[in-house]
């Protein structure tokens, strides 16, 4: 077994998100959400596909913008209902 100097590689730290489901439910476009939280629209795409893990500040801004508790948008375990991405964040 490989040792990682006490730190797990990022690929073993999955974070799941439901941004896309909640955003679509709120009727907000990817561009609108990106503008409101001051990131590029592609970054929202990365977040929705689970290919990027946001900073705490960005996660809080997204949660506020979507009027959703942060725990309902991001989780360390897969969301059981529909709407969560299957991909983990690398």
């Amino acid at each position: 077994m490989l040792l990682y100097m006490g730190r797990k590689p990022k690929s073993e730290e999955p974070v799941y998100s439901r941004i896309e489901a909640v955003r679509v439910d709120r009727g907000i476009t990817r561009q609108e959400l990106a503008d409101s939280v001051e990131v590029h629209y592609q970054t929202i795409g990365y977040l929705e596909r689970g290919e990027y893990s946001p900073s705490l500040a960005l996660a809080l801004r997204i949660a506020r913008q979507l009027d959703t508790p942060i725990g309902e948008l991001f989780a360390l375990d897969p969301f059981t209902g529909a709407g969560g991405n299957d991909e983990h964040i690398a």
Binding site: E38, V39, H40, P54
Partner: protein, 171 residues
């Protein structure tokens, strides 16, 4: 530069960056295949440009440089200038990506320089009849070849690494 002139310049840069970040004119360059093709072409040109100067002379050398500038520009557009922009113009994902890219780019460029320096030293030792008195003679085209090799590598490697690393980006 006066404050007002600096502000105007900053506003112009911000507007230009905004336009590049939002534009979809180069969507065809931002596919995975196009980015890899551009990166591979640029890597080839890093070798072709100095060889053109050394083997074929000034005119082919200048033509190779012009082609290199065009490919470099297309490569930068394909990655939306993320490798070149100041942090103020990037969001947190882009900044993290750029920082990661520069670590790899430094290693690549360092590798190129170390390889060239080692080859030069080896050639000097092997070919020099008397290391204490042997002088290296460089032609104009030879100097231009070395200059453009280092110039092309230093300027393009960050965007090359970014194009290869971030090739999963959606259009």
């Amino acid at each position: 530069m006066s404050t007002s002139r600096k502000e105007k310049n900053d506003e112009a840069v911000a507007a230009r960056v905004e336009a590049i970040m939002a534009d979809n004119r180069f969507a065809g360059l931002r596919t995975r295949r196009a980015r890899v093709a551009l990166a591979v072409t640029m890597i080839a040109l890093i070798a072709v440009i100095p060889l053109s100067w050394v083997l074929f002379g000034s005119i082919p050398g200048i033509l190779a440089v012009v082609v290199g500038i065009v490919v470099w520009w297309l490569l930068r557009m394909s990655v939306r200038l993320i490798a070149d922009l100041p942090e103020d113009y990037l969001d947190e994902r882009q900044t993290a990506l750029r920082n990661s890219v520069y670590v790899d780019a430094y290693r690549w460029f360092g590798g190129v320089v170390v390889l060239l320096a080692s080859a030069g030293l080896l050639a000097f030792i092997v070919l020099g009849e008397d290391p204490d008195t042997w002088r290296v003679a460089l032609s104009y085209n030879g100097v231009m070849g070395i200059f453009w090799l280092l110039e092309a590598a230093a300027l393009s490697i960050p965007s090359i690494v970014l194009a290869l690393k971030d090739r999963e980006l959606p259009r």
